[in-house]
């Protein structure tokens, strides 16, 4: 078995290479710019010339793919790599299975209809292409050599022009690493009211995230704070949903919490059926009292 790993970030390169090691006896990692040492048998780096978006590395990645002839391709689920891996799969008559939460014997588990269902599927083609959610191989240990090689960039047939690029401001919070997570929902009537939630988080040592409406229709939160099906899927010890109604699209992101709590004005809010402890009460009224007691 030969595995090929596409990763952009170092943590993903480590985790996916470690995971690949459990599936294959030969692991090749392809990444941009800087090699990651000690995780794969062979590390290939691709440097994209200035003026190109990184997606223009498609032909270069494809050359490595053809050279390795892998049985399985594990991909970090980033926008860029979904494009590069997706197009390589298309050339090979295959299709990428994306956002797998588990991968065993080539069978990938992923969400269906935003968590209404869970789907298991495997490649019907000789090569399996799969993007794997962070944490799937959390227990696997990477091993490998320090051998790294830079491959020459292969110009694509239709190059794109990178006009401008900037780093987004670094995420203020890393909810994926937080043991305690609080989510603010539509129940917050005004942005100022979020101060109550922040105080609460400080009291219990939690990070604050939100449901989709608060990043989309209201711009109170950065995108990386959005918990739910097209945002973060978390594994916290404690989850507290405040002013969250309990829609599936959000709840799939916190369903794996060990203990969960909810505060909502509406006694009939669906979230109360999905948590361990619920408190029916108005945020403006109960949060200050709770903060005082903590």
């Amino acid at each position: 078995m030969k595995a090929l790993v596409f990763a952009e970030s170092e943590p993903a390169a480590r985790e996916l290479s470690a995971g690949a090691r459990t599936l294959a006896d030969e692991v090749t990692l392809v990444t941009f710019d800087d090699p990651v040492a000690g995780v794969a048998d062979r590390v290939v780096t691709v440097t994209v010339p200035e003026g190109h978006p990184k997606e223009d590395a498609l032909e270069t990645f494809y050359q490595v793919y053809q050279d390795v002839q892998p049985d399985i391709v594990l991909v970090e689920p980033t926008r860029r790599l979904k494009t590069i891996a997706g197009r390589i799969a298309a050339r090979e008559g295959a299709s990428v299975i994306t956002d797998a939460m588990a991968l065993a014997d080539g069978v990938a588990t992923s969400m269906y209809f935003g968590g209404v269902g869970v789907r298991t599927a495997k490649a019907a083609t000789p090569v399996t292409f799969v993007t794997v959610a962070p944490g799937t191989f959390a227990d696997a240990e990477p091993s490998g050599t320090d051998a790294a090689e830079a491959v020459a960039f292969v110009e694509p047939a239709v190059p794109l022009t990178l006009v401008a690029r900037e780093d987004l401001p670094p995420a203020e919070v890393d909810l994926t690493a937080a043991e305690r997570v609080v989510a603010a929902g539509r129940g917050f009537a005004a942005e100022e009211q979020l101060g109550l939630a922040r105080d609460f988080c400080q009291k219990i040592g939690a990070e604050l995230g939100c449901t989709r409406p608060l990043t989309e229709s209201e711009t109170w939160f950065p995108r990386e704070a959005y918990i739910g099906v097209s945002g973060l899927i978390l594994n916290p010890e404690v989850y507290v949903g405040i002013g969250v109604s309990g829609q599936m699209q959000h709840m799939v992101g916190v369903d794996r919490a060990k203990v969960s709590f909810a505060i909502n004005k509406d006694k009939n809010a669906p979230i109360f059926q999905q948590v361990d402890y619920g408190l029916a009460g108005d945020i403006a009224d109960v949060l200050p009292k709770i903060n005082a007691e903590l």
């Binding site: 926008r79 010890e237 009460g281 007691e293």
Partner: protein, 254 residues
Amino acid sequence: MNIAVMVKVLPDDQDIVVTADRKLDASKAKPVVSTYDLNAIEAAALLAADTGAATTAIVAGPASVDDSKTKKNILSRGIDALAMAADDALADMDARQTAQALAAMVNQADGIDLVICGDGSADLYAQQVDVQLAEALGWPSLNGVTAITAGDGTVTVERVLENERETVTLPLPAVLSVSPDIAVPRIAGMKDILAAGKKPVTMYAAGDLGELAPAAVEVIDVSAPEPAARKKELFDAAQDGELDAFVAALKGAL
């Protein structure tokens, strides 16, 4: 410029029933437009309004997607024409097969310069139809697009990735997958709803689209997840002592 927007029509997840053996039954579900494809339609309509471009929505799926209300819904949102392949031979397609069916219709529509896809479908959210389609057409593609500006034979897009923001120019023809943030779907005007039924619709059968490739992904099972066992204890802040009991439970978990 001619813009084609790819639209998936699928069962409304509100109507999906979990059966006793935890399977999902969508047989009673109404067909609806996949949520984020509404944002793609809006992006296409706004770009067309800006540039005077013509817009066509393209749909491929089982016979059930041929729903008169859904067709009018799509056409009430600033879209000029609809091309639809509705055939049970096109049921349960994977991303590759979907892209092939759509590519055949894009080619037959003739003169399409720009294909716009939504961020991901409501059911699979695989985010692969755009790239499979781009490969089938031999066009460049980009995803995560949050703004589109038309140039002379090009489009310049802004896109937001996990940790960075980019502005990229693509030569046309090209495929774009747009982020939901690109545009809020409109509330269609009454006049547009009434006019939708009069817009041109071209129907295709599976046979018109060439031979469909075999499935690249084999689905083993789809089931409702086992619900996490929760205590579901509800306290009422209006009752004496219940807020304290809630706080005590919270403290116990910390």
